[in-house]
Subunit: 150 residues, 2 copies
Amino acid sequence: MANISDTIEQFIKSFFGDSDSIQLSRNDLAHYFGVSPSQISYVLTTRFSVDKGYVIESKRGGGGSVTVAKIVGTKQDFLPELLKQTDALDVLTFNKAAAMVDRLARDGIVTDGEAAIVKSAVSDKALAIPMADTVRKNIFKEILVGLIRR
Amino acid sequence: MANISDTIEQFIKSFFGDSDSIQLSRNDLAHYFGVSPSQISYVLTTRFSVDKGYVIESKRGGGGSVTVAKIVGTKQDFLPELLKQTDALDVLTFNKAAAMVDRLARDGIVTDGEAAIVKSAVSDKALAIPMADTVRKNIFKEILVGLIRR
DNA sequence: TCCTTGTTAGTCTTTCTTTGACCTTCGTCC
DNA sequence: GGACGAAGGTCAAAGAAAGACTAACAAGGA
């Protein structure tokens, strides 16, 4: 956690209390951390992606701002939805899979321990094979099916 | 203890105080000892393997680092042993994997939910590919390492 | 001696981060 | 309505780590 992006990520996350959405100023944040504004954008896109369960909205111009909102899904239809999304993908990279399972953990649909196992199972190390991203998709889908069934 | 690898090994070990895990920078360490970074990797892989009671995690890029953790507690014996056994296998069938994970569940090393996920991940459906039993072995090994790490 | 195993160094690759330059949008003030 | 400043957006390049792979070298044993 030596890098500033992780620090900024935590800082932003600490703003969500019970609330599902927060509003922030890109410039102010950048100034606060002494980094360039695009750094904030970087953190936003890498750490608060849709896969991870966040949506970003923004407004430019004077008095502009960025809104970060947690996507809150009802547990029942979220897993099937995720399965459908995964199936629609051509291939599945590790980062994408990790983002999705992180979100499942965040929303309490799986435990942290379960999330860790899923990540191990679809990691690049586990799948050091040709067509890894295709196989990963299959494995991930099968895991989701198992989760739905339970 | 004439060689530098042994010296580096001791140096790293001296960093564990009461703590079970330490974080280090490969580059810094290499620079400190005046050796090439890959030398540190060499020490890490040869002296801090699971066999020897350690697990390693790392992150690349700016602010990247290597975490070395001692394997402690109940996982100390059984999981590494199982990992070694798995590694010794040529291939791993689903039935064999399922039997192993069932045993882990029975012994309370993993929850039923976790066991179910592992089985999904290494199921024949997930691995409808050439060389399935070889890939399955790899995945299973990686899951075991993950379990040891946690 | 020759062969195997272990060590050391070096190079190239991959991943992730950081910065900067330039672009687009919005609001306000003549 | 046009000019201007204040946001935020985009993208590419550079930088910062660690990983993979390979070659060279060293030491010990058959």
